[in-house]
Each structure stands twice: as C-alpha cells, then as structure tokens.
Symmetry: C2
Subunit: 470 residues, 2 copies
C-alpha cells in the first residue's frame, strides 16, 4: 500500500509543494501585514546557522560589523538618481510619529547605501582610513506586490556589506573576493548548492551600481534563483554624499565603493534545491540538528539508551537532538523529522537494545540499515560528510543536465521551459534580451568563455545564461 | 606637568563626559532622524559579545529564537487596553507604501506582545504545546522626545522573550528564572555590574503586565538605570487574542504569559558604571579585545616580536589585537586604547626586546609594570580575572556607600541627590511615591526585608529603593 503523500508532489504543482513544505516543516507563516512573514524556530535555526557561517567568513576578510538606523530621511534616497528611481516604488514611508505628522517623512530602509555614505563621509578623511570595511545584519523593507515566503517578502533579514577603497581596482578586487571567498565558498561548502558565477547585464544591474556580480542557482523546477549579489558602486554614492579622502599624494579624491548582500531568501533556495516529495533535506554542515535519536516506543530502558547515545554522539562532535516523546506515535514523529529534513535518524526500540543495534535512516540518499550502536560515534561524522557531498553532486548534476547550448532567442525561450540555456552574448545582445523579457525569460548573468566572470559587458566570447527566475 | 584631559571630567559635567566618551571611543554617532543612532564597529563589538553571552544563557532555559515582523497592524495594539495607552504616544506609523496610501496604517513594533499572541493563538492547541518559549533579537522603535545615545533612542536593538505556560505559577517561576539565571548572572558574571533585584510598583509596571521584575544598577553619578525587566503578563494578552489550550483535564483555558527584554541601553550602562576620566573600562570577560600588544616604535624586529607575542597570547585563550601602526605616534595610540577601555596593554619597544620584558599596563586598577615576556601567557588570564573581580567590587562598593536608610519622603529626596535611599514601603506607599515623582525621584523597585523579591505589592516589611533615574 502506497502511503498517502504528506505534501503535494513536486511534479503535480511545484509552488504548492513549496508552500506545503514551508508550513508543515514549520519554517514560516505569513505575517498579518501583506508580504511579511513570521520565521518559526526551526526556520530561524537555519538562518542562525547561515549567519554563523557567513559572519565568520565576512570577518576573515577584515570586515567589521556595525549598525545603521532603520529610518532614513526621504531626501537621502533622492541624492543618487538611479538609486531612487529603482527603489521609490517599493518604499514604506512613516509620516506620523510620536502622535504628530512629521515635517519630513522618513522611509524604512530598503537598503543602506545612502545612510552609510552620510557617515562614511564623516569617518573617512585620509588614505589611512581606507579601506573601510563594514557589514551589518539587519532587516529591510521593500513593498512586495507578489510576495512568496522567503523568496520575496516585504520585510526580509539580510547582511549588507559596505566598503570604501582608494582605487577602482581595489574596490573591484574586493567585490570579487566577497563573491568567491565568502558567498561562493559558503554556498558550495555549507549549503551544498551548485551555482554559476557571473556578471549582470546593464538591464539587471543594482540601481546605482556600475557592475553587479551574481551567483545564480538552479532550483528543483529548473528555474533560476539569484542567490547573492556584490556591487561595484564606482564613485556614484561617493559623489552624491561627497565621501572624499586625501590621497597619499595629497589630493582630494572620492572613494570607490562596493556593497554586497545575502538574505533569508537563501532559506527558500535551500528548500527548492534540496527538498523532495517527503520534505526538506538539510545539508549536514548547515543543519542545526544533524542527527535525531528516536525512541521507537515508551520504555524506561529505551529512553535511557537514547539519551546515553545522544550524549556519546554529542561528544563525537555531532549536533544531536533526542526524541523520546513516546506519547506521540512513532510514525508521526518519523514523518515530522523527515519533513524537517534532519540528515540522519537513529531509531532505537526494545529489540534493538538486546542486539546492541539501531536503525540508521539517512534522509539524503534515502537508505535505512541496522548498525552497531558502538560504531556510531565513528561512523556518523563520516556519513554526514558523504551525504553533504551527495547533495552538492545532485545539485550540480541537475544544472548540467538541464542546461542546453542554443543560438537563437526562440531556442532560449524553449529551453527555459525546463531549465537554462547558454547563448553567445554576441548573438543575443540587449535587443535579444528585451525580446526574452517579453516572454518572461531573463539573462541571469554573463560568463566568460572560460567560465570566469567577464571584466566588462562586452568582453568577446561571453555567454549569456538564460532562464526563468524567481 | 599634568596632561590635558581628553574627556570633560565626570565631576565637572557627567552628561558631557558621557557624550564625549561615546564619541571619542567611537562607540556611536547620532543618526539623521531625531533620536536614532549609528552604532560604530567598536560599540557594535560590545553588543555582539553581549548577544553571544546572553543568547547562550537564554537557550540554556530551553527557549528558542524566532522572528516576528517589524510591521504590525495598528488595530492589534488597541486590543489590550493598558498596552495601547502605554505605547500609543511613542508609535511610528507607516501610512504610505508601495506608492499608495495604506487602507489600514501599520505601526513599527514598539514591542511584540500583540503580534506574538496572534501566532501563539494559532500554534498552541493543547497542554502538550506548553510551555512555549520564544525569543527574538530585533530592532524596535519608540519615538523619543529626550533622546540620549544608547540610553534612550528612538530605535534600539534588543532581545525580547515571549513565553506561554499552563499555569500562573509556572509563568511566575519562569519570569523569576530569566531574571536570575539569565539577566542577573549575565550582569554580575560578564558585565561586572552590581544590581538590586526587585519588583516594580504598580505605577512603574509595564503596560499590560500584572507584575514587572527589574534589575536596577547605580551609575557613576549615583543615578539609577533600569537594566532589564521581566514581566508576568497574566492572561491579559491571552484573553485579548484568545490564546487558549486544552488542559490535561480537557478544559479550554487561556495561557499564562511572560515577556522579558534587554537592550543596547546596556552599553550606556557599561560606560556610566565602569568609565572613568580617561575613558571606558571594559570588563575582561565581555571585552571583544582583552589585550592589545603595542609596538612602541617602528622597527622590523619589534613588529615581529609583537606579532609573535600576540599569537602566543591567542593560544593561551586571550582575545588579542596587535597594534604595530608605528606611523601613528605611540602616545596617540595609547590614549585611544585607554579611551576604548581595553583591559590590558602590553607595550614592547626596542629596549624591551633586549631585556626580554614588556610593560604591562592594566586599565582597570591603573597599574603599569615591567614583566617577563615569557611569563605573560600564564600571567595574563589570571590578571584579567582579577580585574574582572575588581570592577564588580567597585560597582558594589559604590552602591553600598551611596545608599542610605531613610524614613521620610524629604529624606529620600535629599538622598537621591547623591545616590539611593531605602525607605519602608509601608511608610511611603503610593501617595509618597506620587510626592517623590513631583521631585523627579522614583521608586526603582521594592525588595523584601530579607533582600529577596516580594511576592506581592503589599508584602509586609518591603523596602522601596528610591533614586533619580535615567
């Protein structure tokens, strides 16, 4: 007898499957104000692990955390022309506060380039103050017309890095370093997610940037998700806010800047990349709970055994939770851990105690086998590393299998029905890009012929990665 | 020749000294919107250490982190009558978003009891779902008429805990546990701050609570600062939002709740408790940088020596920074580290290298002595612990010396000029409290005769702690 599906199968309705999973795995709920969300403890635990891993990598670049205000005078936004044009339609505006109408309305930050520059202009005097490398973990608000949990929410959590450098070359190199050493390393090594690293076309660039670098990943339905971006801002904000320094040669010059961000959207990406019809599958290196030790039935002896095993595994460096809630049916608990995607379940029942074994259920390959309890402290860390590698390989294979080489716009649109297309940028160009746009398809990024990131929009031999996007 | 003071001396003008210190130690700047602040990297580093220490203690109680939206429908606030009365004057209201006037204005959270209850009502069904123990790290906005950096800002950062329990007794016990095991332990063991633990009078209670517990500390000028509070909310919000559960006996009952918070105000408290006329003094257990190894002069050999020493101290478990910026005058760097209150400076010059010594400058006791470099990895951790204890003892002594026993309102007002008064609550009462209020003096809390926290407002033998407050 086939078991009734807990979730809508992906093949039937991918968006419904996504929504089901978010709800049933208790990751998040819709908030009362349109487009906002409540991140529940299990979902927030994923975010906390992301923050830990990212924060360590960000600090390793010499960047320090700070905090800039949530509320920005509306006039700041208007100082950089492209920036205000890009963000004005999404702003939430406070017009009343402390019981009075405000003389100048203030906006809730959609991003912080403007307010950051107001202070960089005060803090930077000399080349000795550069580079200035700042990051903040914060919430931002962008009014969303088509919200979807984690992927597109009116309020989201993120980190935003803001740096100032003496030269354009240094700024460019720093943006590239963040993209590879922080974001790329984190996605590959922790989230077990494959990606393509490239540059955005002028059409897709951040409002106010001279160049935007992106990492794009393919989701389970073949669509693209922009995972993270790093921007070279040139001197645009420096000129708007007059952020200058005295160079080594004694000249007044405007700084060169970068900004870069990653958000709670990565939780949605995690679901859509690694999830299956039974629920989420969390990469072991990320997982807040790597292994759950389950008491199959209620029994003092079993309960003591699972606790002791949990303790031994903790000592072996595994993040463990013990589940001996035997007043809840075993089947329901097993389904729940499966939905939540905990990488490994270790099930212990009365008969296992006699034989000194337990059942090891690996969520990622989907295997189930009896193992000697004494072997687990050595076996488990290796198993978790194997399953981490398996997830990354599956993610890479999906992209490779679902990406096709094409040479016309029509072929690209067709390929975008199931995955991505690669098309020479010279054959597509801004005109072809506009035609793709009419079909709901976009250029996710440009990559150089050798797979590296092109140094300019018109680098010969560049290839456009084309697909439908979230 | 006496050196010119870097800061306004405390005795001349305490508020000016505070403002000078915040600016010169690079803790924070005023934000562009009135009452907001920019927390600079050194100030934010203190907050990150506070978060780490607090978060571990919060999680040890079984509480898990989550995240609730910034934006709350205005109507939510009005459901609990006292709550809306307390917060309405401080609200910031978004009336325009996405380019349109909103049909229902939304407020920026001043605190989250209302929106939390909206979800607790959905998540809690049965006694099996209780206790529900949630915390969030977030920003909140309360429009401030008399802002002061860290102490009273329009936006501040905090953690807010929200819990639901099956009985009043459990809720009461949990609020008390947070107060002692989380807040009290953190203040004493990490911030090295003395405090009095008590209950607020009805006049000073949180809007919507049936009881508020507080920890009050005495600042360097003898005034009181409310450090943290924990509230028993009774069933007030549960009734307003219909947060009910089916009890073990099968009855529908409203949950009993607590909420509790601590904020970036603690950074201001740290300054006003441990700061002196030379700057901040950071307790070693909190300090992001516990020791700075300074190269006195520029020299390849000295530079190599300070780096090697830094590495050895790091291996000994000390949080170290190496300062070999010898293009900046030594005196200026020394003053800067003193301002920032790094507990220990280790100064190494060319002559020290020959003798195998360094100069150990302890910021907290203010001593300076030559030490053998080889002894430092063992000596330093002990020195830091000694200085941690010294700060706590100084903070306790201040309170003891500046607290007097009085029996009349006039005596209490007089005592509040230099510190605190203790007066029997039976002799003061709500009428006396109102008279104090006319003089700008308040009852900080009530303590029982034996120093414990009174179980009710009218517990016989209770003593009121009276003072001026920030």
């Amino acid at each position: 007898m086939a078991k009734a599906p807990v979730l809508t199968p992906r093949a039937d309705d991918f968006p419904r499957w996504y929504q089901d999973l978010i709800t049933k795995a208790e990751l998040a709920d819709n908030g009362p104000v349109r487009g906002t969300m409540v991140i529940r403890p299990y979902g927030y635990g994923l975010w906390e692990r992301m923050q830990q891993e990212m924060d360590a990598r960000i600090k390793a670049t010499g960047t320090r955390n700070a905090y800039f205000p949530l509320l920005i005078p509306e006039s700041y936004l208007t100082r950089e022309a492209e920036h205000v044009e890009g963000f004005a339609p999404e702003l939430a505006v406070v017009t009343r506060a402390g019981g009075k109408e405000l003389e100048e309305p203030v906006v809730i930050r959609p991003t912080s380039e403007t307010i950051v520059n107001e202070y960089f202009a005060k803090w930077v005097q000399s080349y000795r103050d550069l580079p200035l490398l700042i990051n903040q973990w914060a919430n931002v608000v962008r009014w969303e017309l088509r919200p979807r949990l984690f992927l597109r929410t009116t309020e989201f959590l993120w980190q935003e890095g803001h740096t100032a450098h003496a030269t354009r070359e240094e700024a460019r190199a720093f943006a590239a370093r963040i993209q590879s050493e922080v974001y790329g390393a984190f996605l590959r090594d922790v989230l077990a997610m494959d990606f393509v690293s490239g540059r955005k076309t002028a059409r897709e660039r951040f409002a106010g940037a001279i160049n935007t670098l992106t990492l794009e990943s393919m989701m389970g339905d073949g669509k693209a998700l922009q995972m993270v971006t790093s921007h070279e801002l040139g001197q645009n904000f420096a000129k708007a806010f007059d952020t200058r320094f005295v160079s080594r040669e004694g000249r007044q010059e405007h700084v060169w800047q970068t900004s870069w961000g990653s958000t709670t959207r990565m939780i949605g990406a995690l679901v859509m990349t690694h999830g299956d019809d039974d629920g989420l599958r969390v990469p072991p290196r990320l997982a807040p709970v790597q292994a759950v030790v389950l008491a199959v039935k209620g029994d003092e002896e079993v309960s003591a055994a699972v606790r002791a095993l949990g303790e031994r595994l903790r000592e072996a460096g595994v993040r463990v939770e013990v589940d001996d809630r035997t007043d809840v049916p075993f089947g329901r608990r097993a389904v729940d851990w499966e939905l939540k995607g905990v990488p490994v379940r270790i099930e212990v029942g009365p008969r296992d105690l006699e034989s000194g074994t337990a059942v090891l259920v690996r969520r990622i390959p989907g295997t189930k086998e009896p193992v000697a309890v004494t072997a687990l402290p050595v076996l488990l860390p290796r198993t978790l590393e194997d399953d981490q590698a398996l997830l990354l390989a599956q993610s890479r294979r999906r992209r490779e299998e679902r990406t096709v080489e094409v040479s016309t716009v029509d072929e690209a649109v067709e390929a975008a029905g199931t995955g991505w297309a690669r098309i020479p940028w010279a054959a597509l160009g801004p005109a072809g890009e506009a035609r793709l746009g009419e079909q709901g398809v976009s250029v996710r990024c440009l990559v150089a012929a050798d797979g590296s990131v092109p140094a300019s929009d018109d680098e010969p031999g560049s290839v456009a990665i084309v697909g439908r996007a979230y």
